[in-house]
Amino acid sequence: MISAGNDIVSLTAINVTRTKSPEFYQKIISPAEKALFDTLDQEALPFDRFVWLLWSVKESAYKYLQRLDHGIVFTPVKFEVRSIAIPPAYSYTESGAGEISGRGFGNFSTFKAEVVFAGRKLFSRVIIYHEFVSSVVNHSDDFEGVYWGIKRIKDTSYKYQSFAVREFALAKLKEISGLNNLAIHKNDEDVPVLLNDSELFAAPISLSHHEQWIAFSCQSLANMADN
């Protein structure tokens, strides 16, 4: 069954000094993942960004799998990132206009990480700018069926973040699908679901927000756009 999982972390909101302390990062990454870091180009991926990249991928994977199995508990070290591919000649840039979106990631320079939980492997694409790290996971390494978006907001209250990420996602998905009666609700398991004319729509959606950033991902929209 196809699911959806995404995450965003505001890098301007995290404590870099604390991130680098073993007592902190050992709650997130395993010794094997620390060993993986030691094999990477650390100029292209400094340790604090590595830690939050892993956090984000693990959180996205948890969301993806939790939709399928509500009993899963999020223990970061139990989600194992086994490989990371750094995009060639990567340089961190500002986010510019503060809004990006797409279908797949063909036009974007992304990190690629594989993550395993309980024998299940998921694939990810990760965008890192100066201000944020944002990830999307998928059951296969083909992201062409994945729609996603990231946007900066001014009001960082929880209530506004929650409203804004829904408004942003719906605007994009309505534009893609031509369906004007889409809505996002939370189901009995507290998971966001997409509705069309109040009927459950078979396109799993994932939402995330942190401080001044909101993000969404949605799977199977190719089917949706064909409707």
Partner: protein
């Protein structure tokens, strides 16, 4: 420490990570850290680390898994304080 004393200190640990100060003041054992206090998941590790320092305990992964609401936080912290002796 009594359960009430642990709770009083726990409120101070949680305070920097929630904007819902009104609900924090009136939390109960059923108050959920993420759903009710709107704590971002990225801050959950901060809360674990701060709790370890505050109560001079070590919270392992399996114990941290249980810290979903205020009541389970008090259970875990109380048990770790007892283990510490």
């Amino acid at each position: 420490m009594t359960r009430q004393e642990i709770l009083d200190e726990l409120k101070k640990v949680i305070a920097p990570y929630t904007t819902n100060k009104e609900l924090l003041a009136g939390i109960t054992e059923d108050t959920d850290l993420i759903k009710d206090l709107k704590i971002n998941s990225a801050n959950l590790v901060d809360i674990i680390i701060d709790a370890e320092a505050k109560y001079e305990i070590e919270i392992d992964y399996d114990s941290a898994d249980k810290m979903i609401n205020v009541g389970t936080c008090l259970d875990v912290i109380g048990a770790k304080i007892n283990e510490r002796g």
